[in-house]
Symmetry: C2
Subunit: 324 residues, 2 copies
């Protein structure tokens, strides 16, 4: 997929530099009156409903989060449906109610939409595209180039709940009954950090597909900095750990849909952690590591619970569970 | 489809009033520094390539046009692909190059995107979602409520070229070989009108699905005004007329993808027509009728070439060729 995008989609399409990065990021545009963020994502998930969420909630939260992590306050969403002929109307209704409720909770409105129906076949029910625009907070100064040696790395809560809830449901694994997706809008977290701490917040991302491992690897490569992460500090959901072990998966590579990874200046990291922990979706926020310093071949090193060290790689192929 | 959207999608989703109208319109939002337009549309067309265009060009022009007709200068597009497994890469490349070229011609950039692949099945190759944001021209004062009795109705060129080019290709009709889709960005037309004539431009729309008939019916109903259209003044493409007759279709109901319908104050209508005709895609722009006045049950009356009169209805069901 990455190859398809890099070799075919981007060169063919042309367009501007933002396209050359991770495509799901929000682009930041200068408009009269300020900076706007703009993003798009199409959601394809099986099953359409899963413990803790559904494709509608996922589509709304995912796009809100893409805006949130560039330092924007989400302002408006579009929602475009592609429905497979024969889709149950009651299911569609549930999914849309869930999408509407998720938007309302985040204080964002769905202002424009579109609906198309395609023949029964490979679509597995529906695809939802959500695009979004948001206004950048004036105090937002975020970017790989803002990351400094000594900065702290914060994570807003335990890993893997979304990916494992979806995979468990798909495989009918009963031992994971108590597992729920963490699917949530994190714009309240990002806004609080950026409004209060301004330029002390260096960089933010939501660790979705590829999990924390992919996001850390991307951070190290983008910033050109070594990272050191302390495994013992990573908040853990026991059910998620058990499910990951049963499935032979590394929790670090499993997708999350309501978590924030933030790099914050050392002197503000304690306050940032407390501000996160004040909000219900980030009660277990933790400082999980730090930025070591510039490196030619930047690495993410994990100090394991038993005191060993291992390098965290960008997951690929088999290691990257296809859940969204 | 209209019923699905009105009965299921909108009530379930909640959201704001803009959603209650035609869903493919752009929503207009107040932002610090001005008014922004925001729109989304998913494109499903068969065949993916047709004389005069393809799904990529269509997706880019369609979204640009949705922004243009609310009086916005398109500023940025997103492009999200849902690809069917097994899609030919060379076809994908052509479609994306075409999309990129269409955006470049209109002076708009694709700034963010997304790519998903789904199983082989009912998708017929690909779906493209394009969303767009644009900045409203300061002089734009557009709306159904701005339409006055005596205003003139302008059309930028001949009808039906897109719909008939696609249908002819689909049915392998050789007599329509010279027919090409009119697929084009009309933002140059709308911008010229609004910048020069400001509030004398009352309302604009691109007559896509349902053709001129649907757009006029929508205008009459939305403005609460009777309209009178002079059939002899509607610019005609002979090949399109011949193809429509062979297929038993009313040209007024066939889709266009590069035409503008505009309501302009009578005293500015002549200048508006000349300004349109100065641009290559609107050489044959014409004043095709006028707004008669307020009515309780507003009607669109067509004065036929032979001097008769008939009421133009909103097309539905069989009359509405499914081409996009």
């Amino acid at each position: 997929m990455a190859e398809l995008v890099e070799r075919v989609v981007l060169p063919s399409l042309g367009g501007r530099a933002q396209c050359a990065g991770r495509l799901t990021d929000a682009a930041v545009l200068r408009f009269p009156g300020g900076r706007l963020a703009f993003t798009t994502d199409s959601y394809v998930v099986q099953p359409l409903e899963f413990p803790g969420g559904d494709i509608g909630k996922l589509a709304v939260c995912g796009t809100i989060n893409d805006l949130a992590v560039v330092g924007a306050v989400p302002a408006a969403l579009s929602l475009a449906l592609v429905l497979e002929e024969g889709l149950e109307i009651s299911l569609l209704r549930r999914v849309l109610e869930s999408a509407g409720a998720a938007a309302a909770r985040a204080g964002v409105e769905v202002v424009t939409g579109d609906t198309k129906v395609v023949e029964r076949g490979g679509l597995a029910g529906m695809v939802i595209n959500t695009s979004g625009v948001g206004v950048l907070l004036e105090t937002a100064r975020l970017g790989f180039d803002r990351v400094r040696g000594g900065d702290k790395v914060l994570l807003s809560g335990p890993l893997g709940e979304h990916g494992l809830a979806v995979m468990s449901r798909r495989k009918g694994l009963s031992f994971a009954a108590e597992l729920e997706s963490d699917c949530a809008a994190i714009c309240g977290l990002t806004r609080a950090l950026v409004e209060r701490l301004g330029p002390a917040v260096r960089w933010m991302r939501d660790p979705t597909r590829g999990g924390l491992a992919a996001t850390l690897a991307e951070l190290a490569a983008g910033a050109g900095m070594d990272l050191e992460i302390d495994e013992a500090e990573i908040p853990e959901n026991r059910a998620a750990r058990a499910a990951a072990e049963m499935l032979g998966l590394d929790l670090l590579t499993v997708a999350n849909e309501g978590k924030l990874l933030a790099v914050v200046a050392a002197e503000s990291a304690g306050e940032a952690r407390r501000m996160l922990a004040d909000q219900p979706i980030a009660r277990r926020a933790a400082i999980i590591g730090e930025v070591r310093g510039a490196a030619e071949n930047p690495l993410v090193e994990l100090v394991t619970r038993v005191g060993g060290r291992r390098v965290v790689q960008m997951p690929y192929g088999e290691e990257l569970p296809r859940i969204c």
